[in-house]
Amino acid sequence: MALPRPLRSTALLRFLPLLSSICILIGVAWLLLLPLDEYSRNTYISENALLPGGVHTYFHGSEQNVFRAYRHEVAALGQQNASTNEVAQVIGDIFKGQGLKVGTQKFKYEAGGRVYEGENVYAVLEAPRGDATEAVVLAAPWLNTDEVLNESGVALVMALARYFKRWSLWSKDVIFLITSDARAGPQAWVDAYHDTHTPPMVESLPVTSGALQGVIVLDYPTAAPWDRIHIVYDGTNGQLPNLDLFNTAVHIAGNQMGVRTSLQELHGHTDSYEDRLRTMLRGMVNQGLGHATGPHSVFIPYHIDAITLQVSGFGNHDEVTMGRIVESLFRSLNNLLEHFHQSFFFYLLLGSKKFVSIGTYLPSAMLIAVNFTIMAIGLWLKSGTKPKTVDAAVAITEKPSDEKNEKKDTEEKEKKDTTSDSSPLPPSSPHLESPRPLLLPLLFLLLTHTLSTIPLLLFNTLPHTLLCPAFTIFSLLSLCLPLLLSFTLHLFSPTPQVYTLLRCFSLLSLGLFLSALATLNFSLSFLIGLGAVPVTFIKPTKCKLVAVLQHLVLAVANPMVALVGVAVYMGEPLGTVLGEAQVGWEINGLWTAVVVWGVWWPAWVVAGVGAWGGGRMVEN
């Protein structure tokens, strides 16, 4: 160890656990401060080329009659329960009649024994004088995320296609896309567009255009007048569209059309602290789960900015308002000279006009992640120092049967507990370096990480009917696993140093991973960091009460309970949540499961082994 002497001072070591706790507290408090006016900012349009709301919109008058006719067609198909093929046929014919280039694409995915198949139909409006280098997409799923017929949405896309065809001003191709469902269809289409699909399950696209610059999805399943637009913006794996796109939509709806916008299913946002916090937390949960919240989500991993516009409430706006908002949005997108890049890609929204940027919120997740690293450094330093009294060390490792020593040991232990993780050495004692046995802890850590592939494979490949039972069995086994591993470890007669090093490495990898993750998916890093907080403080102890408490805490703060918590939060049965995760993994390429099972779970198992370790050492 080449650390200067003062750093090895036990006084500092004693403060490390305290420092860790402080980091966690500040991290959480930091997040709670964000909704305040002082720490958040008003949204603004950063890309001047967008000029949102700068144009007159003409989608009204007889266009509405056309829209109504198309809606009748859609409703009729919906009533007949037409197959996806028939739907694609009818819609394709309408697009063809408008003089557009039409393509269809069949797709089929399998996940957990269930089949997701359908047929996408799309039309390309080639920009007059355009060179097919750029395109924007207006999409509507035939069935929306709630599996309801997207009656007005599909009809509006068709009516707008006819209307857009008459303009000569398009600088980019406009693609009108009707996907047969809200999740697999868009994924199949965008994969095939970038040629990353797997034929013959997902067909190639017969017609393509240039690089996609933006996607607007309409989710408008009702024929009734509506009150406000709910904007969904979360992408898969917690990626977000450029804030400029969201701002443009809010600006056009609010300032040009006088339509209120809401987000994160919080209608009637009063701009109070509570509402802002709630919006932010809901956004964080969605980002943390990383699931596809709408058809737009699957575009974002391809660096295509996309949002879904959903209508909500009952009010006095109709399809003409929606059509004009979309028209104005596309005129703005059409103005874009470059790909969206001016505004933020990392942000937390507190309301439709308030946000926090990454520079402001990142320290909060970083502090949580740093707590693990600090603790790991502390444990490393501790593992390198020899205990002051030789007999004490012997007492722990070799001669625990000696009653005198045991008494001394428990005294020592109590003292240790009061000072948390402090070294047994008094500050003035001479520091002796002891060699560290690295092989055993590292191998053991490797073993737990290897074991984490089991749940990952299990929950991503099992048929969906078996998911719930498998989860129950796995949870019970998981709870017993630390004890089992502790027995196994004990076969190698580990010294307390081995336990310290094991915890050190486990925390180090956790800290490293979470701090790296914080820059990619802040919310996931923060939420997992928060769930893994007990891991920092769990250590081998001989105090029965503390041991029991530790076991209880570990039984509550673990990935399995978190999953149940997610199910409760979403109001869905556990099986559905597990099924969704499986579909996400298979179709949308979701990474959340890898982080939960590959990062949090092993850290939790190692902590459990540590918790059992103390008792076993005494038995020795």
Partner: protein, 572 residues
């Protein structure tokens, strides 16, 4: 004569009337008697589109400073740069082969999106040719108000298989072919004006009087081309320098007519909509629009915004319309019609305005289009900023004929293809390959592949490439838009040329506000760190008890000086 045969097939007109068209295109039967000819061909296309092809042929003389109708500015440039044959194309939009069929003039007038230039320059060696090429591009840049001077060594290639000289050259061994393109160049009115100035009637009379920037650049597809070559008559006794200028465009009749009514496509009144009466849905406020009800009526003055101002007195003028034989065509009174099959030609009045009118035709008449020998499209595969792939899909629609073709790709230097990843889906279809790898910042990659496509099959050519990271000053101002990649040129063995659309390549782009942030941040860190580290390194830390020793030394020194001063004073 192959060419002639194909041409007549494309245009569906009988050989009796081809003289003026074929004469211009095939050197074998070139007409050199006239100084100047111009012709306009209008062709109805499916989907209510009209193809308008303007062609102006001027014949000049060699080595003579007497220019009659041949543009002097162009002749001087050619002479100065020793360019013997020149082809310059300005294009916008894309030719929709699926709907419109084969391109007119075998695709020889259409260039790639933006500007494309190739020329045969006479020079002793490559270096001299490069020098003359630079002279040529710079001079043309000034003449046509285009950024042709940006065609530097990184954008210039020397095609081996794709292009052959069209003119009759005295010493072909000394000719060097150079080719360059600017896919990003926006073609607009500032290029049209110098183009019209080269014409003898300068857009004031004859068919060029129809060329209005507003209409021309509202076309679905539009190309302007200038081809200069030396041509000789069959026995080689008479040779002249010929410039062929063409403007081809496809106009959307519906959009052109709408522009006449209102510049903004406002919703039509309900009674003007063509609603499908069979779909009423039980109430009157619905309208399922019927499509393709009729061939829309159009006239020259409506789609071009002005009538034709008589004929150009310096040469012959032809105006022809190719439309289904049953479709009515009305012409101005002072002109005579010669009708052959579905082609109608008109003699123009000398002074008065001339107009053509095609009335509304309901139900629409079917229009036959000749399929092109190949359909081609090209796109990028994959995503991300590190690497990518190119995929060219080429389809041979012919049920019987194998098509031999040459695929030419000219890539910028920052796109580094891997030749070992070059694959074709049809085995043994790759006959020959010419490849010149790129050199960073000096030249781009140049790929020419001779391919054979069996009848009725689709060939997919793919290759992977790496993206380079540019220096930050090498990015254009709109770096996040991406970089345009020039269209691929496909030449069949029968001389038909197709160009794919250009592509937009996204390179890893830095955040350009970042250098500023980085400079501030690193300066601050440097200042803070340097101060403290320097302090730690240089300052010797000593115990408190060691200090007096040095202090005494200093004090001793001071005392010494004092004493010295006192001693001096005493001495005084």
């Amino acid at each position: 004569m192959r060419l002639l045969h194909l041409l007549s097939a494309v245009l569906l007109f009988p050989s009796a009337l081809t003289s003026f068209v074929a004469a211009a295109d095939t050197p074998e039967s070139v007409q050199l008697d006239n100084d100047y000819d111009e012709s306009l061909l209008l062709k109805t296309l499916p989907g209510n589109s009209v193809l308008a092809s303007f062609r102006f042929v001027s014949n000049g003389t060699f080595n003579d400073h007497h220019h009659t109708v041949f543009p002097r500015s162009l002749a001087q440039i050619l002479e100065h740069s020793n360019a013997r044959e020149l082809h310059l194309k300005f294009s916008l939009g894309r030719w929709d082969a699926e709907q419109w069929g084969a391109q007119i003039w075998d695709g020889h007038t259409g260039g790639g999106t933006g500007v494309e230039l190739w020329a045969w320059v006479e020079a002793d060696d490559d270096a001299a040719a490069d020098k003359r090429w630079t002279t040529l591009t710079n001079a043309l840049s000034g003449l046509f108000c285009a950024s042709l001077n940006f065609i530097d060594s990184t954008r210039t290639i020397r095609p081996v298989l794709s292009f052959q000289p069209e003119g009759h050259h005295a010493n072909p061994d000394r000719l060097h072919l150079l080719h360059g393109g600017l896919p990003r160049e926006p073609v607009c009115t500032e290029n049209l004006t110098p183009f019209l100035k080269l014409l003898p009637c300068k857009g004031r009379a004859g068919i060029s009087s129809l060329l209005d920037g507003h209409r021309l650049f509202d076309a679905q597809w539009q190309t302007m081309s200038i081809d200069v070559k030396p041509v000789c008559n069959s026995d080689g006794s008479q040779c002249r320098l010929q410039v062929v200028q063409t403007v081809d465009m496809v106009l959307d009749v519906e959009r052109s007519l709408q522009r006449r009514d209102s510049p903004v496509p406002k919703p039509r009144p309900l009674d003007q909509l063509n609603c499908d009466p069979t779909r009423s849905y039980g109430s009157g406020d619905n309208c399922f629009p019927q499509s393709n009800l009729a061939d829309l009526p159009w006239s020259l003055s409506e789609i071009f915004g002005r009538p034709l101002h008589g004929s150009c007195p310096l040469g012959t003028t032809d105006v022809c319309v190719v439309a289904p034989a049953d479709r009515q065509v009305f012409a101005s009174q002072a002109s005579a019609e010669i009708k052959t099959g579905d082609k109608r030609c008109y003699t123009l009045p000398q002074k008065s305005d001339f107009d053509l009118l095609l009335p509304r035709q309901s139900p629409p008449l079917p229009i036959e289009v000749t399929p092109p020998p190949l359909y081609a499209s090209r796109s990028f595969t994959g995503h991300g900023q590190e690497r990518g792939g190119v995929q060219a899909v080429i389809r041979n629609p012919s049920p019987t004929e194998t098509v031999k073709m040459i695929y030419l790709e000219s890539l910028p230097w920052f796109m580094k293809p891997y030749l070992h990843t070059l694959k074709t889906t049809i085995p043994n279809s790759l006959v020959d390959l010419y490849y010149r790898p790129n050199l960073d910042r000096q030249r781009g990659a140049h790929l020419e592949a001779a391919l054979e496509i069996p009848p009725n099959s689709t060939l997919t050519l793919t290759y992977d490439f790496d993206k380079s990271v540019l220096r930050y000053t090498e990015y254009p101002p709109d770096a996040n838009r991406g970089f345009d990649i020039a269209p691929a040129v496909i030449t069949t063995d029968k001389g038909y040329q197709i160009r794919t659309t250009s592509l937009l390549l996204n390179l890893p782009t830095p955040d350009f506000s970042m250098p500023y942030n980085t400079i501030i941040l690193s300066s601050t860190v440097m200042a803070l760190a340097f101060g403290s580290v320097f302090n730690l390194l240089v300052r010797r830390l000593v115990g408190a008890e060691e200090v007096p020793l040095r202090g005494q030394k200093l004090r001793g020194l001071v005392a010494k000086i004092k004493r010295l001063g006192e001693g001096k004073r005493k001495a005084e």
